[in-house]
Amino acid sequence: MFKFFEPNKIFLITSRAFKYVLFLFIVVLSVGLTEALILSPEDYKQSHAVRIMYVHVPAAWISLGIFSLLTFLSLIGFIFKNKNLFLISKSLAPSGFVFNVIALVTGAIWGKPTWGTWWAWDARITSMLILALFYAMYLVAWRIYEDQEKVFKITSLITILGIINVPIIKFSVDWWNTLHQPASINILSKNTIHVSMLFPLLIMTAAFTLFSLLIFLMKYNTELIKLKSRGLDRL
């Protein structure tokens, strides 16, 4: 199975996929922005401030999703001693971190008109901030450690410790009294969000996913070129 993840094979795919993903991203983002800013209705309580949801929620979802993926890939990479899975994780992390920051900042901007404050030490906001710190530690570890074995171990440890925080973020609104409302979108039970708002939310999520894929492709190709550059030194 891991033969599929060999850099030589995967580079051909990742280098050619870029332009198609970029095109798709522009199309989906244009539809998403039209829906989010023009076509979707205002909320009966929050009025037009609800439109912030279309950037805040997808950013939070994707940052959580990427961190979960980082943990999974690091663990598998560590167990099966597959270096390429670590390279994939490393390439995913920057977009995960940026989405985490976007979720925090847009949350603060949304908080001001709805709660009357930019920031509160609410359970969900605090746990999202902790996730951003784990992302930062993960990225810093790749920068400061040069020994590959050491960096694989440390980044795996950071993701394992950080993943404990992910269910806390998800269930914080149910476990504690927080300023955040309980989840409006549920896979197992009925959604409490109207389809006119759910549609733009899903389109924007798709656009953000495509953007993180775009960044991943560029970053992963950069890592492969670095690897091949070191290979030239050995000739």
């Binding site: 850099p7 051909l12 847009t106 290979g231």
Partner: protein
């Protein structure tokens, strides 16, 4: 937007700026590594260059086929 326009603009503007920043930063890194690879390849003697060209990925990097 009933007085909420500034908040909506701030949120979407910050997201757009973050996207642009991350894209530009990643692209600069990509181009830097690619140029470094190309100049290293150019410095190889013909024998080493032929050896390096045996790897398809090296040819792919040099061909600039990615369009990134």
């Amino acid at each position: 937007m009933n007085g909420y326009g500034l908040y909506v603009l701030l949120a979407f503007g910050f997201t757009f700026l973050s996207f642009t920043g991350l894209y530009v930063f990643t692209k600069i890194q990509y181009n830097k590594e690619k140029n470094k690879f190309t100049s290293k390849f150019g410095a190889l003697n013909p024998e080493q260059a032929n050896l390096a060209k045996l790897q398809r990925i090296n040819k792919e990097i040099l061909s600039n086929a990615s369009g990134n």
